[in-house]
Symmetry: C2
Subunit: 183 residues, 2 copies
């Protein structure tokens, strides 16, 4: 990709993220984004059809990173899918968040968090559906699978939401224990 394109794209992403952590999505204008990113109006629309598309692309960028199949570097950092026990998958995800890769934390705890938590949940559902045992099996077999998958992913998202909006004072291990206690 052209160096210029990359630069513009990242300037826009950066400006957008900063704005998102400060004010509500609806109130952010394209004018503000391009001013902060220091790019021309036409450039913005050359990259993103609308503000909504920009948001989608940003979400992709953020969550593909976390849920990606490739290793994301770092010390003995096994990928999610290669982990063995349920506990380690959950802990792994929480530690990912705690390390604040991609500055995702600001976006998960700001007033726009529902925007991102929705994507988070969708990715989680896919993960659970493909490998249900990673998050612990249901005890009651009369429950429909769809309901159970939805419940587990929703509970995880709510747990993360609670953690981040309360200042992340607890350790990842503690949060993991809370989650497992209610599931």
């Amino acid at each position: 990709m052209d160096r210029r394109q990359k630069k513009s794209r990242e300037a826009i992403f950066g400006a957008f993220s900063e704005l998102l952590s400060k004010k509500h999505y609806d109130k952010i204008t394209v004018g503000e984004i391009i001013e902060r990113a220091d790019v021309g109006r036409a450039t913005f629309y050359a990259h993103f059809e609308t503000k909504d598309f920009l948001l989608k692309e940003l979400c992709k960028e953020l969550f593909c990173h976390i849920f990606d199949k490739t290793k994301s570097g770092g010390e003995n950092h096994k990928h999610i899918f290669e982990c063995d026990a349920p506990k380690s998958v959950i802990l792994h995800l929480l530690q990912h968040l705690q390390r604040n890769d991609n500055n995702i934390l600001e976006l998960l705890s700001c007033e726009n968090n529902e925007l991102f938590l929705r994507y988070f949940k969708e990715n989680l559902k896919m993960l659970i559906q493909s490998q249900p045992e990673l998050f612990g099996n249901k005890r009651d077999n009369s429950l429909p699978d769809g309901y159970w998958v939805n419940h587990v992913s929703a509970t995880f998202v709510e747990t993360v939401k609670w953690w981040t909006t309360n200042g992340m004072k607890e350790s990842a291990e503690t949060i993991s224990a809370y989650f497992l206690a209610v599931i």
Copy 2:
């Protein structure tokens, strides 16, 4: 309240609800609302400061009704707060929804459902906080209260969401059982 005011107000609420069940909140314009409600532009702004305020008022109207302390009429219809067992409170709420009071169902299952489910959850949290025993006590006492309350209300909301978006094929009793099974 003046008959004219009431008429205008309800025409606006009606038009707004219809539009909400068809398209996303962000894409609805004041122009569309007043055209469908058949009221003048100035009238709209005489009633509601902005579209956001209209939404808030609509939510109040919808949820105050469900969570209101007064009886809502009908056959041996005890109020939520007067019910005895956890099971009956939950069942009561679900039946309320199933009867589709205030045409709330369309709004809970349309693409704007997050808008309303947020209010729903807030009301639930208040209810659980004031009378925790109504929704069953937590087994594990090492869990923080805040986390537990959030978990229970979120699970209830997710249950309702799952129920409505899947066509409400199950009975209120079945859904109540699902909910109690995961809590």
